[in-house]
């Protein structure tokens, strides 16, 4: 059941990174850094899966392998200090926004040194002091809070924007309508990023959504919407940066839908009964965001086989260290179970 069509994308496919980066004002080092961050996310997710397989993880996880270009294109395009409200599959965006993988892995393993002192787990990683208002266990949870954060920014006349990332599944929650309508009538500085990975758990977008692309729904509220190739990292960067500028300028909310694909199952209970091996293989081989960007960087001579190996080794070490850090961290003290229910 295919729901995406390349010809509907609002972006032009990136075919030459040198031309594109010049157009976007990105330095060559930044391009390599984007690649490095995508590799870092992939390795983090693979390590998370491995930790789970080893029986070291108490709870569940929602892995984002395959969706790295959305996370990195977005993370590099927004400004430090912008608010982030994320969905449950949030590891990638946090890493791309500069989160500490040690604290993330520690949270994943439920340790006191984790971002949430082991109280939240993978689904609730947050760093409120850095304006990261958390992943959310409720589909559309970020959409519930977004208008209020936007309102606070507007009332305080600050220059931040609110980035709220949600999936194709959340677009069918009632709050989608309430949130977009509210943001539009008040011109709130909100960037709605719909990360369409084609499945809400097992539900294919086409089976559960009356009309796609979802950007058409944004149009119903008078919100400018764009449907882009979410596996083209520079296209994501370009559209998110422009959308963020627009939202920051006081013109109101903007909507971007990024088309992508998740490789792992929805969560640990998933046996992939609802999609074919051929479909997964197609995305992994032809559309993989890291392979696509790697090819472009190789063609432009910005990286070579040697530097690729070096990047992968370095990032692998960083992820290994995060596991060591997490494993060596203490469990929370059970005496503190009642701490922080109330302020």
């Amino acid at each position: 059941m295919t729901t995406w069509k390349k010809e509907e994308f609002d972006n032009f496919e990136t075919t030459d990174v040198l031309v594109k980066s010049k157009e976007l004002g990105l330095k060559q080092e930044q391009l390599v850094d984007m690649y490095r961050t995508m590799v870092k996310i992939r390795l983090f997710e693979e390590m998370a899966d491995k930790q789970y397989a080893l029986g070291k993880v108490h709870g569940t996880m929602h892995l984002s392998a395959g969706q790295e270009a959305v996370a990195v294109g977005t993370g590099f395009a927004i400004t430090k200090g912008d608010y982030l409200l994320n969905h449950h599959r949030g590891h990638g965006h946090f890493i791309a926004s500069g989160a500490d993988v040690n604290k993330m892995m520690a949270e994943f393993l439920g340790k006191e040194t984790g971002y949430c002192r082991g109280r939240g787990g993978s689904m609730h990683i947050a760093d409120v002091t850095a304006n990261n208002l958390g992943a959310n266990g409720i589909v559309g949870g970020g959409l519930q809070l977004a208008a209020g954060v936007g309102l606070a920014v507007q009332m305080k006349k600050k220059e931040q924007i609110v980035l709220t990332i949600f999936g194709d599944g959340a677009a069918n929650e009632g709050i989608f309508h309430e949130s977009l309508n509210m943001a539009a009538i008040w011109d709130l500085p909100i960037l709605y990023l719909c990360e369409n990975n084609q499945y809400g758990m097992s539900a294919n977008v086409a089976r559960v959504s009356a009309k796609t692309p979802f950007k058409d729904r944004a149009a119903a509220y008078g919100i400018p919407g764009y449907y882009i190739d979410g596996n083209d990292v520079l296209a994501v960067y370009e559209f998110i940066r422009n959308a963020a500028e627009n939202a920051r300028s006081g013109k109101g909310p903007v909507f971007v839908e990024a088309q992508t694909y998740r490789y792992f199952g929805h969560s640990k209970s998933d046996r992939n009964l609802y999609r074919t091996k051929e479909e997964i293989d197609y995305w992994k081989s032809v559309e993989d965001p890291i392979i696509r960007f790697e090819k472009l960087l190789l063609t432009a001579n910005l990286i070579n086989d040697q530097s690729i190996s070096k990047i992968k080794e370095e990032m692998s070490e960083v992820i290994d260290e995060s596991v060591t850090f997490a494993e060596n961290s203490p469990e929370p003290d059970v005496k503190d179970v009642m701490e922080w229910v109330y302020a």
Partner: protein
Amino acid sequence: MPEITYREAIHDAMVEEMRRDENVFLIGEDIGTYGGAFGVSAGMLAEFGPDRIRETPISELAIVGAAAGAAMVGMKPIAELMFMDFVLLALEPLMNQAAKARYMFGGKATVPMVVRLPGGSGTGAAAQHSQSLESILMHIPGIKVVAPSTAYDAKGLLLSAIRDPNPVCFVEHKLLYKVKGEVPEGEYTIPLGVADIKHVGSDITVVTSGIMVQKSLAVAKKLSQEGISVEVLDLRTLRPMDTQAIINSVKKTGRLLVVHEAVQTGGWAGEVMAVVSSSEAFDYLDAPMRRLTGKDVPIPYNRFLEAAAVPQEDDIEAEIRAIVSNKY
């Protein structure tokens, strides 16, 4: 001391705190020119403007969600839901977001918000505009629930609720809006979680809140003329509950009646009785503990049926007489 209505007391608390603290704002439906469905915010638009008297579309989920979001980044929103019944449309942001953000982020977030909820029956508004849903709200850790019974308490408790760093549900009984009471001029607060003995007595303790305090007081005064001494303990805050005040009073009187308008099954009367039965007060009981609550029925429209669905003064009086005469 000047007398003002319960409605004016709530209005004044909001106005005074908004003058003091620019982070406080009111968000809800028809709260501007209309002045709110019950007139509580009348005149506030003129003083504070449309930014801080933020009129919304009919989107209860997004109203409470927006309040939670704004609170997480430093604002102190007061969300008004037109009727308490409509909180059922907004339980998700209240219970899954606002109530849990602090805990699940390891103590690194605060959500200082108030949700004002006009509740209760007696206006002929029938099943979907008359409920007392406080027991549902009390069930979720992370939320505080306040239900004032007088103008004085309403003002002092609302100021504390706005300043509290947690999500607070503020339950206002619609029939109390017109009731007058003495309220001093100027700022005063009443701490959350502290009950108040509204009538001192020695024969029986009536633990209650909201409008049932007024009804219980009328009964207590009547029975005092016959020498039946009723202690009326107004919980004021339902969560956190002042359990020590309950225990102390029951130890003194040896009898307990819990009165609330909310329906019986799962209602907070059971919580009060559990507090007593598992404390030293249990040994002081001279009679079985009893509860008088709303019947387990949707609130009916017809005035006689409506009155029959919730405790009235006659019911409270009969129940007290039965308990003190060892009928049970």
